[in-house]
């Protein structure tokens, strides 16, 4: 810790001394008519929300709708994977988002909180969220994605562990009429979206949208672990299908907004996960989530800004797993069904008021989980029939205090109470220093927690999986120093050094069972709190937009995440990530060519091996307004056809799961 603090201080001094000559560029307009003649930065060249970035007590990244379109991102996984310090894992069933070296395989994204227009979308069974096609929205409906790194439990409570992702959806005015979008690619992939948005003369706005997606997936997948005549020589044939449908509607008038969203995704499982019969097309999972959210947002000069909401969510998971209870001679093939139902409702309120140099945020949140049920059964019996309900509430207070033009302090606390008696208080302190209008240094201390979810607590199928009733919250403590420098209107860089200390980490373990011998029939899965982990890392990002509409974003992330006790590297934790995004506009911005490159270091696997490091390149060409209202784009993913794999999880026989090679996509959007 001492070394870390020393490193932070040194870096800070270096950064300050390096940048100080650039800092004094201030415009002075001392007569009022200069309002008319001053040079104003063009909105066309400003791709980021600078004002938000420097004010936030953390490193915030923002991805706009334009960037999503420009780089041809297909899923939220693509979007998040483009960010410094973020990387993904895909086991050909679900995609997982991992942050700053931490990504326990099989964790259903419970350590990242996702909000859609402020509505919490993590479910109440797994605390999970979907970044693949299970994500509630079609990406085309996103206005921007704001990603806040670091623990944010002081504002958001549980799950705001490594990051908070706030997705802001488009408004009716962003569509202004009907829009149709179709795409097609290889692997038999095609999608269709129909949307309508409008802003009416009375100020009301509406967005209606429906999307459907189908993909045959890879027709042939080879896994050496199953290379046996009994398991089709390791070849999974036509068992990678995926389909997803989503609906979204938003209506707002005055201070009121009502939103509803629904998504249903069905994915076949080609990997033989959970000891299922390999290459059986009946293995699949289906996840659906829908919600309705009513928001009231009042802003007045006198009383400040108030946001209140009521919501109702429903999450349903259904999975068929084909198991063989027999042996090689007498197979006994049975379809085992796994289900989860999560229903919840709640409300939250937040009041923001500016008093002189203080910006005060006060809020409360309540969630009643009316249903948190899990079941597992097949023709031989019911192995799990667990019914739960619970509630939690939290109150929080944050003060953003500007001491003067240069110094500011953000101090926040949140207290959470769960109906099982658990209480937790999460503080966050950030000191912001603005040496000039163009630079900001932030020293941040924060803690966050994640309560064990009902899946981790109660899942028990009586044989391969045991309940973990004594689990406690896991916590994280973070120290981070962020420095942001806007060198000029076209060049900006940001650097961060951080230290994370995770205690009582909830992780899935394989217990050797009563015989205490690993890899025998009585082994079972169980969650425990036994681990602690620490991460030390650095992220650096440089953004530049050149005069000729050439845009560059380059980032390097270096970190080491290790087991606190043994000092061993954690699995699925690449120590280096290098990302480069390039884009160039042509013909008065009617054509863009965008490329993104990624280098990711090797990752340790559960078996102690290492996946190969890899280099990916993606290319997208977009033609805007080719005809009135028509936008075309063509993308090539994994342009160099790089072979790469991600570590598998406890439930996989595969130590590493190979990913897709080169893929193509054509997309057409037409605005009527």
């Amino acid at each position: 810790m001492r070394k870390f603090c020393l490193s932070c201080s040194c870096l800070y001094l270096v950064v300050i001394s390096f940048t100080s000559p650039i800092l004094a560029q201030n415009f002075v307009f001392d007569d009022e008519e200069s309002l008319l003649f001053q040079d104003i930065p063009s909105v066309y060249s400003a791709s980021k929300y600078d004002q938000k970035l420097t004010e936030a007590p953390s490193w915030v990244s923002i991805i706009t709708a334009r960037e999503i379109q420009k780089f041809g991102y297909r899923t939220m996984a693509d979007v998040l994977n483009s960010l410094p310090g973020f990387y993904i894992n895909y086991d050909r069933n679900y995609s997982y988002i991992d942050v700053r070296g931490f990504g326990i395989p099989g964790d259903y994204n419970s350590r990242v909180l996702m909000l859609i227009d402020g509505h919490r979308v993590n479910d109440n069974v797994y605390d999970g969220l979907y970044i693949d096609l299970g994500f509630l929205l079609d990406l085309d409906l996103i206005d921007r994605v704001e990603v806040v790194r670091g623990p944010s439990s002081s504002l958001y409570g549980t799950s705001a562990f490594f990051a908070v992702i706030n997705v802001i959806t488009q408004k009716g005015r962003d569509l202004s009429g009907p829009v149709i979008s179709v795409s097609a690619g290889d692997l038999g992939t095609h999608s269709l979206r129909l949307s309508y948005g409008e802003r009416f003369s009375n100020g009301a706005e509406i967005v209606l949208s429906g999307s459907t997606y189908r993909s045959d997936g890879q027709t042939l997948l080879y896994y050496v672990e199953y290379d046996d005549p009994a398991t089709n020589n390791g070849i999974a044939e036509n068992v990678d299908d995926e389909k997803a449908d989503s609906l979204f509607a938003k209506y707002s008038i005055g201070d009121w907004t009502i939103t509803t969203a629904m998504n249903e995704r069905n994915k076949k499982i080609p990997t033989g996960a959970f000891d299922t019969v390999f290459n059986d097309p009946r293995n699949f999972t289906e996840d659906s989530h829908d919600y309705i959210d009513v928001k009231y947002h009042l802003s007045t000069e006198q009383s400040g800004d108030f946001v209140g909401r009521l919501f109702y969510d429903r999450y349903i998971y259904y999975g068929d797993y084909v198991l063989d209870y027999g042996d090689i001679i007498t197979p006994d093939i049975v379809v085992n069904t796994d289900e989860a139902y999560g229903y919840w409702w709640g409300g939250d309120g937040q009041w923001v008021r500016v008093f002189n140099n203080h910006k005060l945020i006060v809020g409360m949140e309540y969630q009643k989980n009316t249903r948190q049920d899990q079941s597992n059964y097949d023709i031989y019996g019911i192995y799990l029939d667990n019914h739960n309900n619970s509630q939690r509430w939290g109150i929080y207070l944050q003060d953003e205090y500007s001491l003067n033009k240069q110094w500011g302090i953000h101090l926040g606390f949140r207290h959470d109470k769960f109906d099982n008696g658990d209480n937790l208080t999460s503080p966050r302190l950030a000191v912001l220093y603005h040496p000039s209008n163009t630079s900001t240094a932030k020293l941040i201390y924060g803690t966050a927690f994640r309560a064990p979810n009902v899946y981790e607590l109660f899942y028990n199928d009586g044989s391969t999986w045991m309940a973990s009733l004594n689990l406690e919250q896991e916590t994280i403590e973070t120290m981070e120093l962020v420095y942001e420098q806007t060198v000029n209107s076209r060049l900006r860089w940001i650097a961060s050094v951080y230290h994370n200390h995770i205690k009582d980490l909830i992780a899935l373990q394989t217990d050797p069972g009563p015989d205490n011998v690993p890899d025998t029939a009585d082994d079972f899965f169980i969650f425990d709190n036994s681990s602690r982990a620490i991460t030390n890392g650095v992220d650096i990002e440089i953004n530049s937009q050149f005069r000729n509409d050439f845009y560059v974003s380059f980032s390097v992330s270096s970190q080491r995440t290790e087991d606190y006790t043994t000092g061993e590297l954690l699995v699925n934790s690449p120590q280096k990530l290098v990302k480069l995004n390039l884009s160039q506009y042509f013909f008065d911005k009617q054509l863009t060519a965008a490329m993104d490159f990624q280098y990711q270091d090797s990752r340790k696997t559960i078996a102690g091996n290492e996946t190969d490091s890899f280099f990916l390149a993606n290319f997208t060409l977009s033609l805007y307004e080719w005809a009135k209202g028509l936008t075309l784009s063509a993308s090539i993913y994994n342009l160099l056809d790089e072979r790469y794999a991600f570590p598998g999880s406890e439930e996989h026989l595969q130590d590493a799961i190979e990913q897709d090679g080169r893929l193509y996509r054509l997309k057409l959007d037409y605005r009527f």
Partner: protein, 313 residues
């Protein structure tokens, strides 16, 4: 040291006066007009040039002297003693120059241009001129033409500076079936929240000259928020439109120079000056950004585009 500095200053003044004589051989005359300007940028020069040309047309005998303006004590003294006191009329451009003139001169009539505040006209007697503001009625009339579907017009303002303007605008808006959504900004920290609320409550954001709201520090935030929320922003000037505002009405600077020349000529003719009276620009330029219009999914009528003096495409 003081003596050396003194000599330097005097020498500089001497050189300047000599230079003026060399450049404009006949300076001292009963009908002298001294032109003093806060800035020497294109727009100011446009006004001065137009003023000169029109004044020459009205009376070729009038002698006009243009003075560079720098704020320091020695300049002030020189200005007062050597120039202002000898002029029949002072044509002053910009707030800084005008303040200096008004502080250092008691009786000489002053014609003012390139200022935004009405208050400057009430500082003393024998002051008149052209203010750069656009009358509310004209602003709203143009807004109705360019954005016929817009009903609710947001205006961010500092009550200390623009409370009266807001009252007037509300009356005028009511008359033409529009609504002014006035949002007070008494501290810059309130701006972000105010902009957020505007995106929900208004169809258009009309920028008005207001130092607290539209400073160099806030302009980018305002522009970006309006752009990203697809709220049409009526800018303050050409530079705002170039940066991404939908359109702006701007005084035609040549016409402003001509208006000022007319006022100065009337004074030279011996007609009594309408003290403390300002007039609005007679001729306005329309500047449109069609790129922004496309972003807002707006179709601007072709005849309006033709009328515009500048169109950013």
């Amino acid at each position: 040291m003081w003596l050396i500095n003194r000599i330097k200053i005097d020498l500089r003044h001497l050189l300047r006066v000599v230079a003026l004589f060399v450049l404009q051989p006949v300076i001292v005359n009963a009908s002298d007009i001294s032109v003093i300007s806060s800035h020497e940028t294109e727009r100011y020069q446009q006004v001065i040039s137009s003023f000169n040309d029109y004044m020459k047309q009205l009376n070729s005998e009038v002698l006009i002297e243009q003075v560079s303006f720098h704020v320091n004590e020695s300049d002030k003294i020189w200005l007062q003693k050597e120039l202002i006191s000898r002029s029949d009329i002072i044509f002053s451009l910009g707030t800084q120059a005008t303040r200096l003139v008004l502080e250092n001169n008691v009786n000489t009539p002053v014609v003012i241009a390139m200022v935004l505040s009405e208050k400057i006209f009430s500082q003393r007697e024998h002051v008149s001129g052209v203010i750069l503001k656009i009358p509310v009625a004209q602003q709203l009339a143009w807004l109705k033409r360019l954005l016929p579907d817009a009903r609710r017009i947001a205006v961010l303002y500092d009550p200390e500076e623009n409370a009266l303007w807001i009252e007037q605008a509300k009356r005028e808006a009511e008359r033409v079936n529009l609504e002014i959504v006035a949002v007070e900004i008494d501290h810059p920290s309130r701006l972000t929240m105010a902009l957020e609320s505007i995106s929900r409550k208004a169809d258009v954001l009309l920028a008005i000259p207001d130092k607290k709201v539209y400073s160099s520090k806030t302009s980018k935030t305002i522009m970006l928020t309006a752009f990203r929320n697809r709220i049409p922003l009526v800018g303050l000037s050409r530079t705002w439109v170039k940066a991404g505002a939908l359109y702006a009405l701007e005084a035609n600077y040549s016409a402003v120079g001509k208006q000022c020349a007319e006022q100065a000529y009337q004074i030279l003719q011996g007609k009594s000056q309408n003290d403390n009276r300002y007039v609005y620009p007679e001729q306005l330029d329309l500047i449109i950004n069609l790129k922004t219009a496309r972003h807002l999914f707006l179709d601007i009528e072709p005849e309006l585009v033709e009328q515009a003096s500048t169109v950013f495409r």
